[in-house]
Amino acid sequence: MFKLILRNSLRHRLRTALTILGMAIAILSFGLLRTVVDAWYAGVEGAAADRLVTRNAISLIFRLPLAYLNKIKAIPGIKRVAYGYWFGGVYIDEKNFFPQFAVELQNYLDIYSEFVIAPEQRQALLKERNACVAGRKLAQRFGWRLGDIITLRGTVFPGNWELVLRAIYQGAEETTDETRFFFHWDYVNETLVKNTPAIANQVGWFISQVEDIDRAPLIAAQIDDTFRNSLAETLTESEKAFQMGFVSMTKAIVVAIQIVSYVVIAIILIVLANTMAMTARERQEEHAVLKTLGFQGRHLVVLIAGESVAIALMGGVVGLIALFPAAHYFRTALGNYFRVFNVSDQTLLICLVIALMVGLVSAIFPAWRAARLSIAEGLRRIG
């Protein structure tokens, strides 16, 4: 039976090759689009459960006074607190976008232990007021080396900011974002104190590390209670919820990508179903002969579904093989937008399951017709 299925699937080589190619492209597209969605959620997935983010309750664009730091530190159960803000500078040209943060580096690097820095680099970074640290991929992108001067043109904070690259961090895990850029909050604040004191001594957010994950919601409520009825009320949430807030802003794009990925699968499903219907129609007489020999409807269902699944799986496997170089190309070409772009095991499994399901669903109608076919009708002869 297996031999017959395999030989049947190769009977029209060109048709089979084109169908396999179509299936491969569909699975490749689906896999890539799913990886794009995964990359979108990479920040959320990378969030740690023991980290809380405190921001202005009105909006992230409103800042909080640095004076809140000691009050947050005083709340029982908090291990460390760091703070910072989004810097949003331009490096040479606007197209060279990368995420830049001015942070209180000592505690920040302790809290984000997944950013691994060599001890001597860390020491140099913390000692120098205009030192900065870049992720490995970011440094690779611009060819930076330790000691290089990196000048950022401020957009939120006007002026040219000269920074010295003193450290390059590596991600502890494959999914760790290696495209971020950090430097001392103090360096920015000192300038603001001199030039624009009205916006000095403020932070965009505090990030707290808690001792006990189970108590994190309670501590978050305690932080917000501390600043209730103050001029700048706070909103404290888990880092995951905080990252999710960013993703939610672009949810429509994610949904659109997901819809497109399913449309691609629906199209190949129709193409394969049409191919199988055409194939079964061409072999109607042969199916009638098989039935004459004693084959039953269920045997024909196995033959047709087997052929359909074989073609779909061949296409699926080719698509998955092509997915890895395609993902590598995406990672290289679109690394500015997607910090992490890895094909997950789950995506591979889903692609295979989809290929299998497309094969099975495509065979339903032709198999049903073949199973119901009357032999006399199939032989098309009434003598």
Binding site: L4, E286, L293, I375, R381
Partner: protein, 235 residues
């Protein structure tokens, strides 16, 4: 059983009626057909196109259902069998030979002959041995690894005959087995069918237009407009 006693009735057809529907039109094909066929008989069914001979053969071979009447083969009323029961019955009792051979093009001669045995529980080695024996019987063992497209019409029909006999069926049903063959090949196929009937005692029911083919049969029946001329005479 006393010597000289007539062989038992293998096929007993009584008052068989069959019609087809084309849209709203009902076309009667067989009308009240009665026919008995003895075991070991070689029966030729003749008649003009549309007379119902293939339909009658299909009914006897269990590949179609009658509208009315009874059709008993070796004591089994096959008109009462369900589709799946009929499929199993066909597999065990009938070998069918088609006019256009109807071999599976992607399988070799040996694999085509082995095909009906795939439904049995025989192990692969035994299936092969049976298929090789059937090909030897029809004299085409040397072509067992050839695909149908690599064989002549006569050779393909021999493979089809081997496929029909490989399960050792009770009845061989042949629908114009020489209709697509040249004169020499047709003679070879008829010689083969005669041997199967005379040497192996197979009951053969053959539909044919060719009077020379019909001459090989031990009995001839004419159908005309769905009526078997022998019915009136008691079949």
């Amino acid at each position: 059983m006393a010597t000289g006693e007539a062989p038992p009735i293998l096929v007993a057809i009584d008052n068989l009626t069959k019609s087809y529907r084309r849209g709203s039109q009902i076309i009667p094909v067989l009308q009240h057909v009665c026919l008995n066929i003895q075991a070991g008989e070689f029966l030729a069914l003749m008649g003009p196109s549309g007379s119902g001979k293939t339909t009658l053969l299909n009914l006897i071979a269990g590949i179609d259902h009658p509208d009315e009447g009874t059709l008993r083969i070796a004591g089994v009323d096959i008109s009462r069998l369900s589709e799946s029961e009929l499929a199993i019955w066909r597999h065990r009792n009938v070998g069918f030979i088609f006019q256009f051979y109807n071999l599976v093009p992607v399988l070799t001669a040996l694999e085509n002959v082995e095909l009906p045995l795939m439904l049995s529980e025989l192990p692969r080695r035994e299936r092969r041995a049976h298929a090789e024996l059937a090909l030897r019987l029809v004299g085409i063992a040397d072509r067992q690894d050839h695909y149908p497209r690599q064989l002549s019409g006569g050779q393909q029909q021999r493979v089809a005959i081997a496929r029909a006999i490989v399960t050792d069926p009770v009845i061989i049903a042949a629908d114009e087995p020489t209709g697509d063959l040249d004169k020499v090949s047709a003679q070879e196929v008829l010689d083969l069918l005669t041997r199967l009937n005379q040497e192996m005692g197979k009951t053969i029911i053959m539909v044919t237009h060719d009077p020379r083919a019909a001459e090989r049969a031990s009995r001839l029946q004419h159908l005309d407009k769905g009526v078997l001329n022998a019915c009136a005479a008691g079949g």
